[in-house]
């Protein structure tokens, strides 16, 4: 896709999601613009455009299930069992008879008839599909009830089982992290837009607060964090792999925190109320940071890797 095709698609996706009602409506809207075909044909652009739009619109959908499912080679449009909050291991285990799993499900989980999940089976990896009758699922309210997440526990005989290469889980984690990174990037841009608009409109001491250097520097800091995230996401797309995706996810979590902190301070009183949309973006990014590994935990994991190998690889070249 060239730049103008991407812009056109982004507009189409945005418009479709704008008109959607609820998580099921958002999934239908994405289906309507050909999301699953796009994901197969142009995964890089599809993931970037759709997840940025979800983040920017604060839309709840279940596109993450599709990203994970695709990497695991599962049939399209199933509900996925994702790792528990903060974790990134395969959520399931298969002992030769039964599939047991604990993890998260997106909004799709509440209406799904089948679930797909990656399971450890001794040293192998299998992808299991189990019927909804074998799962217990309960909505999570937590910090962002609108995000539509559920806890899910599986103890069932698998309807289908497919051994897959162990690398399939690494690929699923990397793809999911990139997707979540784009969703956070979309949300972070909106937080900055909201704070910027407020700083220009809000008059104190006879002038817009945007004229005060202390305020300007906070907004500048937020933009640096957002641009940093975009750069690491582009690097992760250009050089796909476990490491570049993990780093992009770390930067996503950190950037969200930086942008959230500075923008909330600039928004001051109004950003502290639920009358202003800011709180929805802040809470959504706090939640997204914990999916497939939070920034702080991943930073330690990456550091351990460097200290273990005594190698500091550059990952991207000119």
């Amino acid at each position: 896709m060239d730049a103008s095709e991407r812009a056109l698609l982004a507009e189409t996706v945005r418009d479709a999601l704008d008109g959607a009602r609820g998580p099921e409506g958002a999934d239908l809207a994405l289906a309507g613009v050909g999301w699953l075909d796009m994901l197969d044909a142009e995964p890089r652009d599809a993931v970037e455009i759709v997840f940025r739009s979800l983040g920017a619109g604060n839309v709840t959908a279940s596109a993450l299930d599709d990203v994970v499912g695709r990497a695991l080679g599962s049939p399209p449009a199933l509900a996925a069992v994702l790792p528990r909050f903060g974790a990134w291991e395969p959520p399931g285990a298969y002992d030769g008879k039964r599939v047991r799993a604990r993890g998260l499900a997106t909004a799709r989980g509440s209406r799904a008839t089948e679930f797909v999940m990656a399971c450890r089976a001794d040293d192998e990896l299998v992808v299991a599909v189990v019927p909804a009758s074998g799962v217990e699922i309960a909505p999570i309210h937590g910090i962002d009830p609108a995000a539509g997440f559920h806890t899910i526990t599986v103890d069932a005989e698998a309807a289908r089982l497919e051994p897959v290469d162990r690398g399939a889980w690494d690929a699923a984690v990397a793809d999911a992290r990139r997707a979540i990174g784009y969703e956070i990037a979309g949300a972070a841009r909106v937080m900055l837009d909201l704070a910027r608009t407020h700083a220009l409109d809000r008059v104190q001491f006879g002038r817009p607060v945007a004229r005060f250097q202390a305020v300007r520097h906070r907004l500048a800091e937020a933009l640096v964090a957002i641009e940093a995230l975009d750069a690491t996401l582009a690097a992760a797309a250009d050089e796909p792999g476990r490491e570049t995706a993990a780093l992009a996810k770390i930067v996503a979590g950190r950037s969200a925190r930086t942008v959230g902190t500075h923008c909330q301070q600039v928004l001051a009183g109004v950003g502290f109320t639920t009358e202003h949309p800011f709180h929805r973006y802040l809470k959504r990014t706090m939640l997204l940071d914990g999916l497939f590994g939070a920034a702080d935990d991943l930073t330690v994991a990456v550091g351990r890797q460097l200290l273990g190998t005594k190698q500091v690889p550059t990952l991207v070249e000119l």
Partner: protein
């Protein structure tokens, strides 16, 4: 050599094969004299082998090819500790000025001397009253027949005590004319009336200098660009400074982090967090700088958005040395007199300058606020 990755591979293979010739003949860090002599020697070897000539136009003794080849060379040298990237990358803020603004015969004569290590040059921009606000400079050049007479002072001039030439910004208009009344010259440092006085930095190194100009006569044909056109000369350096120079610094910082990792036990989560933090900052910077350089190579003009690159360089450099400060063995920086400890101490202290030179962290944020966020003027 069709692609950058082929070029990189051939370059590294060559550097591997010639490691013994190129390696410093002293225990690093060495004195500044030793380090500069090493750099010039390495440049000479690389020039003779052709590597120093890639990426430069043929009319100044180069072999052509994209400027990114120069960047790869500088990064390769930095990652192997063969030349200090801060000193080596000065080429990028000096030679392009000659290529773009000097009379062609002058450029053809002098650029090869710089590239081959026969000469060193310095950049006379900053002044005591002119830090981040470069357009306020006051070192004056007065027309006198077919020459100009320069009077004034420069400061923070890197390595002037080793330099044969200086790319000098002077005031030719009124002070009020700001950036419209500045003219650039290429000045021989052995001209009577020039005095160089090194400044000792916080890390004990005398890398920066003050340069005094007392009735220094500069021929008019040494003007770079037109009269009162010096601002464009100064600004033309920005894309090189914010691409190639940064990339070389990045390569150096990755190497520093690797040295630090080698000194740090593997089983400590506190250490893993500190190393991880620095690595995240370095990767972020590298990803950003790569995108910037691809834009430049595609013909885009770099501008205010490179203030973001500058902020990220400073953060990554300080994160790297913050990790060093936390993880180096207790007392190494404060009380150890070995050469290795001296190197860490120098660098750790020098890293504080990352948010000061080339436009302070605050100035970068002002630019981001005004130009990129369009917040209008400030108070």
């Amino acid at each position: 050599m069709t692609t950058m990755s082929d070029f990189r591979a051939e370059l590294h293979a060559w550097l591997d094969a010639h490691h013994d010739d190129l390696a410093p003949r002293y225990e690093p860090p060495g004195s500044l004299d030793e380090e500069i002599a090493q750099m010039q020697r390495v440049k000479g070897i690389l020039f003779d082998a052709g590597w120093m000539r890639y990426g430069w136009p043929e009319r100044v003794g180069g072999l052509g090819g994209p400027p990114m080849m120069r960047t790869e060379l500088g990064a390769a040298l930095a990652s192997r500790d063969l030349a200090d990237p801060g000193h080596f990358s000065l080429i990028e803020v000096l030679a392009p000025t000659l290529v773009d603004f000097a009379p062609p015969a002058l450029a053809a004569d002098v650029v090869p001397r710089l590239l081959s290590g026969e000469e060193m040059w310095c950049q006379g921009f900053s002044e005591p009253g002119t830090g981040s606000d470069l357009a306020s400079l006051s070192c004056r050049a007065r027309a006198d027949g077919s020459a100009f007479v320069v009077n004034g002072q420069k400061v923070w001039t890197s390595l002037a005590q080793y330099s044969q030439r200086c790319v000098l910004l002077t005031r030719t208009g009124t002070l009020e004319s700001r950036h419209r009344g500045i003219t650039a010259f290429f000045v021989d440092m052995d001209t009577p009336g020039i005095t160089v006085s090194p400044l000792e930095m916080i890390n004990g190194v005398r890398e920066f200098t003050e340069v005094f100009f007392d009735d220094v006569v500069v021929p008019a044909d040494r003007m770079l660009g037109p009269l009162d056109g010096g601002w464009a000369v100064a600004m033309s350096i920005l894309p090189y400074e914010r691409s190639s120079c940064f990339w070389q610094r990045i390569a150096y910082l990755y190497r520093r982090l690797e040295l630090l990792a080698a000194l740090t036990p593997a089983d400590d989560d506190r250490a893993a967090e500190a190393i991880g933090n620095a690595y995240v900052a370095l990767h972020t910077l590298r990803a950003r700088s790569r995108a910037t350089q691809h834009r430049l190579a595609a013909g885009e003009t770099l501008g205010a958005e490179t203030s973001i690159d500058k902020v990220l360089v400073a953060s990554a450099e300080q994160a790297t040395y913050e990790a060093a400060r936390r993880l180096l063995p207790a007392g190494l920086v404060e009380t150890d007199d070995s050469a290795a400890a001296e190197a860490w101490r120098n660098e750790l202290l020098y890293a504080r300058a990352a948010t000061i030179y080339g436009g302070t962290a605050e100035v970068q944020r002002n630019i981001i606020a005004r130009r990129l966020l369009d917040l209008g003027g400030d108070d």
